[in-house]
């Protein structure tokens, strides 16, 4: 059995070989440790350092590179699919009923109010969905900041490169609807409907993202408590 010091050496070794994420390091350290123990058991004269060199050579010319790239690629795919499935669930039974009611309520409100009031309503919805989205994003960043060790699991699952495009599209939408206010009421109502649909879609994407953050954080805390400074 390797000593605590030798295990720490293996973590440092992983860092030196560009493995910055603790969750990836854990698996590799265990693999290296098992292989080193076996080699040292078979040859009592073998030093820890020589055994480590020999075990690392078994990873081939690419070293840890293949493992790290496969891990990030698969995690990215896994979380993109999870978020997409969660988003789609709002258009499948039973959540689809709630979506339909929500849209119907907004469309009904649009029929009751007109002119300036409708514009204020659009503005309130806009502020709500954007602030809610920002709150969720800040929360996700907070989880990452709380970590004492970097985790690929949280970093990739919390990634949101499409956010800027969504907000950009959303902003251009609200400015277009403002232009419609001086025009005819039918056009105004159509603009309102388009805005509400985009707002609801955006809101659902934020909720899906929030669900992913919640479940991933729970899983990360359970699997890697050391990364959050919890010792067991």
């Amino acid at each position: 059995m390797l000593t605590n010091e030798q295990i720490n050496t293996l973590f440092v070794f992983c860092e030196k070989h560009s493995i910055r994420y603790y969750d990836v390091q854990v698996e590799l350290v265990d693999h290296l440790a098992n292989a080193i123990e076996e080699k040292m058991e078979a040859n009592k004269m073998l030093s820890f350092e020589t055994a480590l060199e020999s075990v690392y050579a078994d990873f081939g010319t690419m070293g840890f590179a293949t493992i790290i790239s496969s891990r990030s690629k698969n995690l990215y795919r896994q979380y993109r699919n999870t978020r997409w499935k969660l988003f789609l669930s709002y258009f499948q039974w039973p959540k689809a009923a709630m979506t339909a009611c929500l849209l119907a309520a907004f469309l009904f409100i649009g029929k009751i109010f007109s002119g300036q009031i409708l514009y204020y309503l659009v503005f309130v919805i806009f502020i709500f969905v954007v602030v809610f989205d920002m709150h969720v994003t800040v929360k996700a960043n907070g989880v990452i900041k709380k970590q004492r060790k970097k985790l690929m699991l949280t970093e990739i699952s919390f990634e949101r490169s499409w956010l800027i495009f969504s907000i950009g599209g959303f902003l251009s939408g609200i400015f277009r609807i403002e232009d419609l206010f001086d025009k005819n009421p039918v056009l105004l109502y159509s603009g309102y409907v388009a805005f509400v649909v985009i707002a609801v879609l955006f809101f659902f994407s934020t909720i899906s993202y929030r669900q992913v953050i919640k479940t991933t954080e729970e899983m990360a805390r359970k699997q890697y408590p050391e990364a959050f400074g919890i010792t067991i």
């Binding site: 390797l2 295990i7 265990d30 292989a35 081939g60 496969s70 891990r71």
Partner: protein, 121 residues
């Protein structure tokens, strides 16, 4: 001449074996409930008496792919002074393992017909 023949033999073995890696790992996980990476490499080597060896560069990307596809799930457990990541087949993974085994058997039978044409006749 001898060198070339030896090279071809090794190359063919690894090429043939590459496509079978996934069902082999799935079958091992089915038989052993839960396993960790190093244990899988050792077991394959032991069972095949060293004929087949899974390299680390092939095993971990495969395990990560199976995790992404929902075929396996993972849990971390502290063993001595280090953490260990165990892989277990999910319910869907168990079903897929059976299907993969059936496919592999059919493939072996087909190969057998080519290798031993007398059987086919």
């Amino acid at each position: 001449m001898y060198r070339n023949v030896r090279y071809i033999r090794i190359m063919n073995k690894s090429t043939l074996y590459k496509g079978c890696l996934e069902p082999i790992v799935m079958r091992l996980l089915k038989d052993n409930d839960r396993m960790y990476g190093y244990q899988i490499t050792r077991m394959v080597k032991e069972i095949t008496k060293g004929e087949l060896q899974i390299t680390e560069g092939a095993l971990y990307p495969l395990l990560h792919k199976l995790e992404e596809q929902g075929i396996v799930e993972t849990e971390i457990e502290n063993v001595g002074n280090r953490a260990r990541k165990y892989y277990t087949l999910t319910k869907a993974g168990k079903k897929q393992t059976n299907a993969a085994m059936d496919e592999l058997k059919t493939f072996i039978q087909s190969l057998n017909l080519i290798v031993n044409p007398k059987i086919a006749g």
